[in-house]
Symmetry: C2
Subunit: 170 residues, 2 copies
DNA sequence: TATTGTTATACTCTATAACTATA
DNA sequence: TATAGTTATAGAGTATAACAATA
């Protein structure tokens, strides 16, 4: 049990680099979004996806796909955005169970207000350091990883219920 | 500030891939840590850094360096770990202001209990998809990005002791 | 019965600012 | 005065489970 082949030094380096860059970037971006437009990361993501959709509206389920959060978390964020007047929610016409989320003009405006700073941060933090080749490499490699992650079973198959001594966290 | 050159398609693809992989990986890892050992991501990070240090102890300041969180967040997590018996805290001998954090045997054990699963997840999610060349490329590219991120002044420009403040204020 | 979404609840985590104490 | 760390507070975000409504 204790002898799962450890990650070698190069894997570790790659893993840590990925983790750190992801964290720092996320942190910087979230701060910018909050300062420039009072948006959290998840909220920005929702608005951006709506703006990127053909008619500026998507169902909750569409929004949920590809998000890391739970349904209730999405509902919570949608409520925040609705209260702020940035989106509207209405039952779908073809399927009354569904909720159609629509970007309001105010939402679009907010997005426009925040995007320049967003782009600036990502430019400065990420792309100022990268050549075109770097970018291509990252896209290729991480794109593959992402596709794989979306496919791989979420680790219920791992037979790891060994010790049985569930330490009470006290 | 209204005319920031937008990111081109390739930059966007790279940015999204990075963001998504980072999120998915973090999410999967945190779930594993919680299930296998009742640890949160930050808690695991603290334990791991202590285990990786020469004598299994570091000052709070050492732990704070390189972390994205605030000092109070670190204090909170340290308190959690101390209550769980995984670390101890004691004033430093040479400088009574400092707190020395030490990994307990229990903490080391907990880490050992969690590591196999951790490694397994990272292996399966990340490295099963990557060639040695991929890994080298990621380490090189993201390593450079990370170094740069650590250097670049934060956007909201706190007064820095060094010269070269890029933008006085927003 | 299955799917879509919301709500109620409880919890974890975080940041800010005020505070203590040492240097 | 500056540094190391803690605490008090207050808020944001999340997951789980129960729930309602529609298919």
């Amino acid at each position: 049990m204790t002898d799962a082949t450890p990650l070698d030094a190069e894997q570790l380096a790659a893993y840590f680099a990925l983790k750190e860059v992801g964290s720092l970037l996320e942190h910087a971006v979230e701060q910018q979004l909050r300062v420039d437009g009072g948006l959290s990361g998840p909220q920005f993501q929702i608005l951006a996806r709506l703006a990127g959709s053909p008619r500026g509206h998507l169902r909750m389920t569409d929004l949920a796909d590809g998000l890391v959060y739970s349904r209730s978390a999405l509902t919570y964020q949608a409520a925040q955005l609705e209260n702020a007047g940035l989106i509207t929610r209405a039952p779908a016409e073809d399927d009354e169970r569904s909720t159609v989320v629509t970007l309001t003009p105010g939402g679009r405006e907010r997005l426009g207000k925040v995007m320049p700073g967003h782009i600036e941060v990502v430019q400065r933090l990420l792309f100022d350091t990268l050549t075109r080749d770097d970018i291509a490499a990252i896209t290729d490699i991480l794109g593959r990883v992402r596709d794989r992650m979306r496919t791989v079973p979420p680790r219920s198959a791992a037979p790891r219920r060994s010790t049985g001594a569930r330490k009470p966290a006290d």
